[in-house]
């Protein structure tokens, strides 16, 4: 509960699915989805990189579409289906994109990784067999300072291969 007394009456109740779980939260009108996920639900896999829509580190999926959680208001997600990086694997088996990231060395510092993986999952849902050019184009908003994107693109293409099979 907030320690600021004036806050307590201003909250909005929102009900939505988060990683398959029905979830109910009290949020303020201007609370972002990023903040709600991280600060209220403890889902810290989704990252803050800029807060202004310029890095895609905060990418999550809403009904299968990749969106920027730093620009989305939690209060507007009534009834929606949100998936974060924590919801991609059951804890024992990785999602194909996660698996190829781990296998092909697409992870360095790992800070861009959750956003990258969410974006690539959205790409593969739209286009299961993308060309390298299409992968690069789709990822152009996701910034990574470590990898030069080489192994990230490789991992996306490899994941597409395994998902098809």
């Amino acid at each position: 509960m907030s320690e600021r007394p004036e806050d307590r009456n201003e909250k909005i109740a929102v009900r939505f699915q988060v990683n398959g779980e029905p979830t109910e939260l009290l949020v303020s009108a201007n609370e972002t989805l990023l903040s709600a996920l991280r600060n209220q639900l403890g889902l810290t896999g989704t990252k803050y990189g800029c807060g202004t829509g310029d890095c895609c580190a905060c990418t999550v999926s809403v009904n299968g579409r990749a969106i920027l959680s730093c620009l989305s208001l939690a209060a507007e997600l009534e009834g929606e289906n949100v998936t974060t990086v924590e919801g991609l694997s059951d804890g024992s088996k990785l999602n194909p994109v996660q698996a190829s990231f781990a296998e092909l060395g697409a992870v360095q510092c790992g800070f861009c990784t959750p956003g990258m993986i969410m974006t690539i999952n959205a790409l593969l849902a739209e286009n299961p067999d993308p060309s390298e050019q299409e992968v690069r184009h789709y990822l152009r908003g996701n910034l990574c300072r470590c990898t030069g994107y080489v192994k990230i693109v490789d991992a996306a293409l490899a994941a597409a291969g395994t998902m098809e099979a």
């Binding site: 907030s2 320690e3 600021r4 007394p5 004036e6 991280r38 403890g42 889902l43 810290t44 896999g45 989704t46 990252k47 803050y48 990189g49 800029c50 807060g51 202004t52 310029d54 890095c55 580190a57 974060t84 990086v85 924590e86 991609l88 694997s89 990785l94 996660q98 698996a99 990231f101 781990a102 296998e103 092909l104 060395g105 992870v107 360095q108 510092c109 790992g110 800070f111 861009c112 990784t113 959750p114 993986i117 992968v135 690069r136 184009h137 990822l139 152009r140 908003g141 996701n142 910034l143 990574c144 300072r145 470590c146 990898t147 030069g148 994107y149 080489v150 192994k151 990230i152 693109v153």
Partner: protein, 774 residues
């Protein structure tokens, strides 16, 4: 010769382990699972009960006297738990090692837009922000200086009164006889180059989480390359004994040199927590990250080169680096630039005049390449300019002057291994058959040179790393190392070295890094030292552990120790084929029967080679071994728009033995990314006439995207280096130094204009084409 610092016991001779299959293997990283599932914990994710949010009030003026600070309105805002100013902190000057000149909170003067003036801790970020706006600071705005040339003038505004000058560091070093060298040369060329203030732009912003315990102990989670360095200076800054300060392991979201020291925000978080008696999480916004975290040094580099009989004989390099408002690592980066220049080619005479100058701008510090990118752009551009003027083939010119194994450079660096010529040839060959055809297509090369550890980086006499291996009863091992996993694959590399050095399967190795309570004093990760110094410490720790196992086995089996060795995870006897006991059996025996323990500690401090012990750093300097590279790229240019496109970049690197080829490639690719960004789209942090930074967002300060990056071909020109563990050398930064010049050379090849400043933009190309026409 290796120098081992071992407390007490004499060195265990190196016993052969006949099962080397992890070193050199393309294994998955040990941290990958955590990172792909979102479980890695970075600073922003550290969960602490009743944690507060910290925020820093920063100076809006590039230069101002602070006449007074009134925090009473901020303190009375509900939800605010602590407000601090310089009055609340010990007057400890932080900076690079003991050479500090920056208080964590300004005393009576702010020296750049972003300087830390006061700080608050509150129940949430919004309240903390609001409290900042309620702090009343009485500023007297002062004249300021942004340009280092202006700041060097005798009548310039002086930033630090006690220094009496804005020249924070200078270096004048000569080897051989430069005057004579130029007099005897057939040709002398002099050219000048300029590079911008590149920002590190780590995807994770800077910050610190601090918890001041009721027992007056301090625990911090700060994203750092050097946990022990932070601990050492943080203890002084908060006036606690070292035993009461702990830097904990935390995920590091990119570093690239920007996280090598203790910074004001670490100290501020600690004092906020002390005052509030609650944990405090203090994280920069991306905007703050741009204008208030450290940057690369903008530089002006002049190179004068003497050529005799087609050989480079003499060089004089002059460099002026803009260090920003506080000295930080300016002296060392400036020194390193000059030192690197002495090692690029076989030369006989060398002079360096370097200046690190303070201005009212963001603090400049270590950044991937450490003076190398500024130098490399200048030096390797000039190589092509000279070749063109003398009508020499630039590749052959480089080959003729290249260093070779066994050389000692003019400044005393000894190259125990060097495959530079192989790198040049391989990078040249890699683009063969793709010869750019037609008008406005070009190709350009540049070589690179780097360090691999550095003696005396912290004005000490050391380059030390530490590791401990503890074997459990089941034969599995814990490896504790003093560096940190900063994204470079450090933990994985250490696991591979530990596994092979001890003959343990990799899945039975765990690595613990980044926690000062776990590991012995270790200087951390900078100067591409992790693989070599920590790697060697791990190897020494493994040797000690092995010695302990063999001693116990000899006693247990009643066999001479000299007949025993470790093979296939067993201790076997060369005299008796029936003897074979597993590591687990002997470990269990040691714990259960001998009432003892199986562990070994390795401390490694390499013996470095440098002729002049005080030449470049007022510290001994030098690495134990040096990596080399060559970068070759193709470009095509549109003369109407100035736009250009890079076809392919071939990078050949001599980094010794790659412990993990996938990790090495990742470092090469990242190195290209930083170098190409600096060469092209990254504007560098610039200031307007009022001294305010121009860039606050990722939309203005561009990074290259996946759609922009050209194809990169990585070639490893393996050398066998006798010094590091399994022959490894550093690889994390030298290529960044080569990309700018390779691009400038390729553009010159394509359209016949010479770009002498970074970044190279379409506008600059159009201007150069226009100039060439008139």
């Amino acid at each position: 010769m290796l120098k081992h610092h071992d407390a007490g016991a004499e060195m265990v001779p190196q016993e052969g382990v006949h099962e080397v299959d992890n070193v050199g293997a393309r294994l998955g990283r040990t941290d990958a699972w955590r990172k792909v599932t979102g479980q890695e914990q970075y600073m922003e994710d550290v969960p602490l009960v009743s944690q507060l949010w910290g925020k820093i009030l920063r100076s809006p003026h590039p230069h101002a006297r602070i006449r007074g600070i009134d925090v009473s309105r901020a303190e009375s805002l509900p939800g605010v738990k602590a407000v601090i100013t310089f009055r609340d902190i010990v007057p400890f000057k932080i900076g690079y090692s003991t050479h500090g000149d920056q208080f964590a909170l300004c005393h009576d003067r702010a020296r750049y837009v972003g300087d830390e003036v006061a700080a608050v801790a509150a129940v949430d970020e919004e309240t903390a922000e609001k409290a900042l706006s309620l702090i009343d600071v009485d500023y007297e705005v002062l004249p300021f200086v942004l340009d280092p040339i202006e700041a060097m003038k005798p009548d310039a505004i002086v930033l630090h009164k006690d220094k009496g000058t804005n020249i924070a560091a200078e270096n004048h070093t000569e080897f051989g006889d430069v005057e004579k060298g130029f007099a005897e040369a057939d040709h002398v060329f002099e050219d000048e180059f300029e590079t911008q203030r590149q920002c590190h732009v780590c995807m994770e912003v800077h910050g610190c989480v601090a918890n001041w315990g009721n027992d007056d102990s301090l625990s911090v989670w700060t994203s750092t390359q050097s946990p022990h360095i932070v601990k050492r200076f943080l203890a002084k800054a908060v006036d606690l004994p070292l035993s009461k300060v702990r830097v904990n392991r935390v995920g590091v979201g990119g570093a690239f040199g920007s996280r090598t020291d203790l910074f004001p925000h670490d100290v501020i978080a600690a004092y906020l927590s002390k005052k509030a008696r609650r944990p405090v999480k203090l994280l920069f916004s991306r905007q703050e990250e741009f204008y208030a975290s450290a940057t690369r040094h903008p530089a002006l580099v002049r190179i004068k080169t003497g050529i005799k009989d087609g050989m480079i004989t003499t060089r004089h390099v002059t460099a002026i680096l803009n260090g920003g408002a506080y000295t930080s690592q300016t002296g060392a980066v400036m020194g390193s630039l000059g030192w690197k220049a002495s090692n690029y080619y076989r030369i006989e005479n060398y002079r360096y005049d370097g200046y690190g100058v303070l201005t009212n701008t963001s603090v400049a510090t270590a950044y991937r390449g450490y003076g190398g990118p500024q130098l490399g752009f200048a030096l390797e551009s000039q190589i092509d300019m000279i070749a063109e003027r003398l009508e020499l083939d630039p590749v052959e010119f480089r080959l003729n002057n290249a260093n070779r194994q066994g050389d000692t450079s003019v400044s005393g660096s000894y190259f125990s291994s060097c495959e530079l010529t192989q790198c040049i040839e391989a990078a040249d060959r890699a683009l063969e058959g793709e010869k750019p055809a037609g008008r406005d297509q070009g190709r350009g090369m540049a070589i690179g040179f780097g360090e691999s550890g550095w003696r005396g980086a912290y004005y000490n006499n050391s380059d030390v790393s530490a590791a401990t291996i503890k074997m459990n009863m089941d034969g599995s091992i814990h490896t504790t190392v003093g560096g940190a996993e900063i994204g470079t694959g450090y933990d994985t590399t250490m696991a591979q070295i530990a596994a092979d050095a001890l003959g343990v399967p990799i899945d039975q190795v765990s690595v613990h890094s980044g926690d000062t309570n776990d590991a012995a004093y270790d200087l951390g990760l900078y100067a591409s030292r992790g693989a070599i110094t920590s790697g060697m410490a791990v190897k020494l720790a493994a040797d000690k552990t092995k010695g302990k196992l063999l001693d116990a086995a000899a006693k247990m089996l009643d066999t001479p120790r000299s007949e025993l060795s470790i093979e296939n995870r067993c201790i076997v006897s060369s005299a008796n084929p029936n003897i074979a006991i597993t590591m687990a059996e002997i470990a269990e025996h040691i714990y259960e029967e001998e009432g003892s323990a199986v562990f070994g500690t390795g401390i490694y401090d390499p013996q470095t080679h440098l002729a002049d012990e005080t030449g470049f750093h007022a510290s001994p300097g030098g690495s134990i071994t040096y990596p080399f590279c060559a970068v070759n790229l193709d470009v095509s240019v549109n003369r109407d728009t100035g736009e250009f496109k890079i076809g392919k970049i071939a990078v050949a690197v001599d980094c010794g033995k790659p412990i993990n080829p996938a990790i090495v490639e990742g470092q090469i690719e990242g190195d290209v990314f930083h170098g190409l960004g600096m060469a092209t789209v990254e504007p560098g942090l610039d200031y307007d006439d009022a001294g305010a930074p121009k860039y606050h967002h990722l939309v203005d300060y561009k990074l290259l995207t996946a759609a922009d990056m050209p194809q990169i071909e990585c070639i490893v020109a393996e050398s066998t280096d006798p010094t590091g563990p399994f022959g490894v050398k550093g690889v994390t930064q030298l290529i960044t130094s080569s990309v700018g010049a390779a691009l400038a050379n390729a553009l010159n090849d394509a359209i016949g204009v010479r770009m002498t400043s970074l970044p190279i933009t379409p506008e600059k190309i159009l201007q150069a084409l226009e100039r060439a026409q008139s």
